[in-house]
C-alpha cells in the first residue's frame, strides 16, 4: 500500500482522536471503526496534516523522519484506505 506524502491531507470530520499514553484512539463515527495510533509521533503527524500543504511538510514540522516516517507512512496508508484521513485538492 502506498501513500502519497506529497499531497495535502486532512482528518475526516467524522473522526475523533483521543490521546493516550501509547499514542491515541481514533474513532470514526461514520463507519464505527476504532483504530489505535500506536505512537505519539503518529498522533502528532495526523493532527498536523490539515495545517500543511503536504504530509511530508507536516512530518517535517512535527519532527517525524527516517524509519519513524516509514512506519507512519504505512499507518497513513491504512487511515487513507479507510477514509479516516482524506486527500485534499492541491492548494
Amino acid at each position: 500500500m502506498t501513500f502519497d506524502l506529497d499531497r495535502r491531507w486532512r482528518l475526516s470530520e467524522q473522526v475523533a482522536l483521543r490521546p493516550e499514553p501509547f499514542g491515541a484512539l481514533a474513532y470514526d463515527f461514520g463507519t464505527r471503526r476504532l483504530s489505535f495510533l500506536k505512537s505519539r509521533a503518529l498522533l502528532a503527524l495526523v493532527e498536523a496534516l490539515g495545517a500543511h500543504p503536504s504530509a511530508r511538510e507536516a512530518a517535517r514540522a512535527v519532527g517525524v523522519a527516517g524509519g519513524e516516517l516509514d512506519r507512519c507512512r504505512q499507518a497513513l496508508a491504512v487511515l487513507a484506505a479507510t477514509g479516516m484521513i482524506r486527500a485534499q485538492a492541491a492548494p
Binding site: A16, E20, P21, L34, S35, F36, A75, V78
Partner: protein, 420 residues
C-alpha cells in the same frame, strides 16, 4: 511493524475489550498497555433501568422491577456530559429493557448531540415503524435486537413466550426502514449452539450483522448456567464456526478463552474489566464489567463527589485490576498468553478461584475444578436482584402480544409439550 492497529470495521466492545489487531507497538504490545488501563474507558456498558417487560431466564442483571433509586433524566445527562469530556466515543446501553424508560429517546438524542454514540440492546417490543425510521435516520445510533433461538421454540424457552415473534417483527421493521446493519445479538447456549447457521441466515435476510456472546453465570444466569452453558464438544464446534466466519460475526471479544483450542479468535483477547471497559448500572453504581454485579467488583457510584471520572481514575478496585496479574494456577499453561485465565465473572459466580482456570477452560481444567467444588458453600450471589416476584403481567410496560404473561422460568423447565 505498523504504527496503527484497527478493528475490522465496527468496534464491538460490550462485554470485554474491543476487537482489535494487537500487534507490537513502540511502547510494548497494545494488549499490555490496555491491561494497565486507560485514562477513560474505550466504551462502557450503561444499564439504564432494571425494569423489563420480559424475564429471560439467563438475565445477567437479574432485571424485572424498576429500582426507585434509578438515575433521573438530569443525572443521566450529567453522566453523558462527563463521557463527552472524557471522549468516550460510544456507550452500549442496555437494562433491563432500556426503551421502557420514558426519557429513553430523549437521552439517546442528548448523547448523540454530545458526540457520544449509542448502541442499545432491546427485545424489540418498542420498535414500531415510526421508531424504526427514526433509528434508520439517526447517525451514531445503533440498535441490537436480542434473540436467543433461531426458532421460536428454542428462543421462547429462554426469553419467554412471544419474544421470538417480537424480535423478528422489530428486525423486519428495521429492514423495511432501511436501518444500516442492525445487530442480531445472541447469547450462545447449549440449546441454540446448533442453530448458528440459522442465526446467520436470519441476520442476512434482514441486512443485520450477527453478534454472538457468551452465556455468563451472572444474575439469573447463575441459576441456569449448569444446564444451559455449552458442553465442551459444543464449545469446540462454536470455536470452529467463529474461525470460519472471522470478522463478519461480532463477539464482543467474549470468547477469548477459546483461544486455547489453538488459534486466537479475532479480537484483543483480553479481559477489559476496569481497564478499558466498565458498567454503570441503573442506580449509578460503577462495576468492573457488566457481568460482575457484585459488591466485590463495585468501584463507586456516579453520584459520588468526583462523578464517573473520579471512580474510573481513583477507584482502588480498578487500580488493583490494572496492576500486573500473575497467572496463578494458569501461569504455566502454554495458552496463558492468549486466554489469560478467561473470564473473571464466570469464575467468580461459579465459585472458582479468580487466579485459576475459567469454568469453560478449553483444556478442561475448569470442569475438573467444578466437579471438585465443595457443595456446602454455594457460589456468591449477585448483589442486586430486581427479578419480579411474580410473572410479568399485561400492563403499560408489557408488549401487546402478551410476550411474558407466563412464568418463563417454569416455561423453560417445563420443556415443550407439557402444560403446567
Amino acid at each position: 511493524m505498523s504504527a496503527l492497529a484497527s478493528t475490522g470495521g465496527g468496534a464491538d466492545a460490550a462485554g470485554a475489550a474491543p476487537a482489535a489487531a494487537a500487534d507490537a507497538a513502540p511502547g510494548g504490545r497494545l494488549v499490555d498497555q490496555f491491561e494497565r488501563g486507560l485514562d477513560a474507558p474505550i466504551c462502557l456498558t450503561w444499564e439504564l433501568t432494571y425494569a423489563c417487560n420480559l424475564a429471560c431466564v439467563h438475565c445477567l442483571s437479574s432485571s424485572g422491577r424498576r429500582d426507585p433509586r434509578e438515575l433521573s433524566t438530569a443525572e443521566c445527562k450529567a453522566v453523558i456530559d462527563e463521557l463527552e469530556r472524557m471522549q468516550v466515543f460510544y456507550v452500549n446501553v442496555g437494562g433491563g429493557e432500556p426503551t421502557v424508560r420514558r426519557d429513553f429517546w430523549e437521552l439517546v438524542d442528548y448523547a448523540v448531540a454530545h458526540r457520544v454514540g449509542v448502541k442499545f440492546s432491546t427485545n424489540g417490543s418498542r420498535i414500531d415503524d415510526e421508531r424504526a425510521r427514526w433509528i434508520a435516520a439517526s447517525d451514531y445510533v445503533d440498535v441490537q435486537i436480542s434473540l436467543d433461538g433461531a426458532t421460536a421454540e428454542v428462543n421462547d424457552r429462554v426469553r419467554g413466550p412471544g419474544s421470538y415473534a417480537t424480535a423478528m417483527r422489530a428486525l423486519g421493521r428495521l429492514a423495511a426502514a432501511g436501518a444500516s446493519a442492525p445487530k442480531l445479538s445472541v447469547v450462545v447456549t447449549r440449546e441454540n449452539v446448533g442453530q448458528l447457521d440459522g442465526f446467520k441466515a436470519i441476520a442476512d435476510a434482514h441486512g443485520a450483522q450477527l453478534r454472538l456472546t457468551r452465556l455468563r453465570p451472572s444474575g439469573r444466569g447463575a441459576d441456569v448456567w449448569d444446564e444451559l452453558h455449552p458442553t465442551a464438544a459444543q464449545q469446540r464446534q462454536l470455536y470452529e464456526w467463529l474461525l470460519a466466519h472471522g470478522e463478519q460475526v461480532l463477539t464482543g471479544d467474549s470468547f477469548f478463552h477459546l483461544a486455547a483450542y489453538g488459534r486466537s479468535l479475532p479480537g484483543l483477547n483480553l479481559c477489559g474489566a476496569g481497564r478499558v471497559v466498565c458498567l454503570i448500572d441503573p442506580v449509578g453504581d460503577v462495576y468492573a464489567c457488566p457481568f460482575a454485579i457484585h459488591d466485590q467488583f463495585l468501584a463507586g457510584n456516579v453520584r459520588d463527589r468526583g462523578g464517573f471520572a473520579g471512580v474510573w481514575r481513583e477507584s482502588e478496585l480498578f487500580a488493583r485490576l490494572r496492576a500486573p496479574q500473575g497467572g496463578g494456577a494458569c501461569g504455566s499453561c502454554g495458552f496463558y498468553d492468549s486466554c489469560r485465565g478467561g473470564c473473571m465473572a464466570a469464575k467468580f459466580f461459579t465459585g472458582l478461584p479468580l487466579d485459576g482456570p475459567d469454568p469453560e477452560c478449553a483444556l478442561g481444567h475448569g470442569e475438573t475444578l467444578l466437579a471438585r467444588r465443595d457443595r456446602s458453600t454455594p457460589p456468591p450471589r449477585p448483589s442486586a436482584d430486581h427479578s419480579r416476584r411474580r410473572p410479568a403481567r399485561r400492563g403499560p410496560a408489557a408488549p401487546p402480544e402478551r410476550a411474558c404473561d407466563e412464568d418463563p422460568i417454569a416455561a423453560f423447565l417445563r420443556r415443550e409439550g407439557v402444560r403446567r
